[in-house]
Amino acid sequence: MGLPDTNSAKNAILGAIRAINIPPAPLPPLQRSEWITYPDPAAQFAIVLASIGGTCETVADTAELNEKLRHLPAFTTARQIVNLVPHVNLPAEHLLKEQEIADPHHLVDVDLAIMPGEFAVAENGAVWCVTRHLRHRVLYFITQHLALVVPREQIVHNMHQAYERLAWGQAEFGLFLAGPSKTADIEQSLVIGAHGARSLTVFLV
């Protein structure tokens, strides 16, 4: 069987839709005073993140961040670590240079990835992550454990404020990441660590 002619399918679909007389419906405004805000968005973020299986650590400076990272259980047991946060300074023995890896399949044994997050969302514990600083976006999903480092002042209250911050127009992957990978498909029992990271720690610096 040959490939259907996609152009005639396109014209048929659009033609059929245009033939329908549907009354106009205006778009509602998205900036509203009713959207929820919190007295302490960082505290709210930490509460929600904990409720979805993640951990939030607030650290004073880079020195404390390095110290906390070295004591992370995922760090002490890791054999392969990828770090993409510039000011993080860790012993080199297990560090893997992500930029030097050509095939993303070779990241399958990464135990811990330390990556920057752009900003955090108080209402749902999500962190906005982009891929411009890394070669293989799969790292977010393939690593056994994940640590995200987010500037402490970069917290928005709700998702509307989050989208106000985002710009589009180029080919780029981005995601809201909220907690470790999880499933409840077996009798609604929550199991942390489905396909992605088994743990998520967010450091607010």
């Binding site: 839709i17 799969v138 589009w168 080919a171 809201f176 909220a178 077996i186």
Partner: protein, 487 residues
Amino acid sequence: MTSLAIVDHPKKAAAFVADIDRAHWHDQSLWYVRIKRDKQAASLPEWELLRETASQIKANVVANLADYLEQFANEATKLGAVVHWARDAAEHNAIVLNILQSRGAQKIVKSKSMLTEECHLNPYLERHGIEVIDTDLGERIVQLAKEPPSHIVLPCIHYKKEEIGELFHEHLGTDKGAKDPKYLAEAARQHLREKFCGADAGITGVNFAIAETGGFVVCTNEGNADLGVSLPKLHIACLGIEKLLPRAADLGVFLRLLARSATGQPITTYSSHFHGPLPGGELHIVLVDNGRTDIAANPDFRRSLNCIRCGACMNTCPIYRRSGGHSYEATVPGPIGSILAPARDSAKYATLPHACSLCGSCSDVCPVKIDIHQQLLTWRKEIAARKQLKWSKRLGMQLTGWVFQHPWLYSTLGKMARWTLPWMPRFMLYHGLNPWGKQRELPSAPPQSFRELYAQRQKQQANGGSVTPQPSPHSPPSVYSASSKVN
């Protein structure tokens, strides 16, 4: 595959309910999700405004669908994606197969997509020698069991952990008798990692596509969609045309509503925004109609296109919870599915709009404010008008309608019933012609009808006396109050 047979929901539901403990367990499992949803909805004081906003955005999308589709296709192409158009399931499947075959892709990992389920993509690809692995844990479980999902968000909600343990023992070599969800999920993780790493291509569905940017969003908790399309170079995204949103900022509204309504989470773990292919990779987007323009053309059912597939209506529906998803024999079961399926084939799915008590709970929880129960009522009228009701139901309705048109007859029959019902033996009351009495007892007949009470009241008030109901001249026998009826 769908059969050509007429779907008989009451019969299928009766089979499910026959195992009372299981039906009760199923009911409770879904009610638990409904309670989680309520807590999340209550956590936002602006919940109703969010629903209203989402509903308005969706109305705008349907009213401008052709423009948004063109805009989306143009923007997606600019970002390096290849956009395909498919009128129906057959075209969709042919397009997907052609892309896979021309790239020599043999092993495919798929993340949950009700659209590919609707198009029966898996069996089609398998017939052409392609291995398709569903990677969402619940989907993988039903795939191993060779069943369709019974719920659009919780595909194996009908399975007990012992049964999943048995399936995994057979297919994945887990320990016999194992039923610990953690152990089983870990086994699935290891099994599916192998599949992810060996895949030639990844197929995903789409939760939301954005006309303004040409991008789209996929939401999962497991990260399976992301893992599946970040290792291989080839990503095919299958997209129903109703999934468009005008602006990226509209996602703020819908991502707030989706997971809260679906599973009672503040947001899914992964909400991935795809704009263009992986560097050095390929992204194909297949836009599929498959009956959606027909629904858009019908003002009665147009709003069912607002559906964002959260499953909240299923979790709250008293019929769905007690009859199981498979009893609907439709890709999308439950209340919203009972609108969508008859739109495809009203004769085949004529029983589904009747699988509804019109309680309205589905409409109350719907995050995009679809008037689900009202549309189900409209479908009932439509199916009756098309003479697609079963003869027994049609005859019953005609008889009832005729009686209601003759008040004297109604009142006489009522009086006769009040006199005779209490004395009738059970076999004359509970039989095949009284489906209502299958799982429940008839209420005891009141001593007086409302009309008699009303007439009596009028008379007493005219006499200036107080109103007290007359004692019944004949008390009903004990068979009604202390029934020993067994199923």
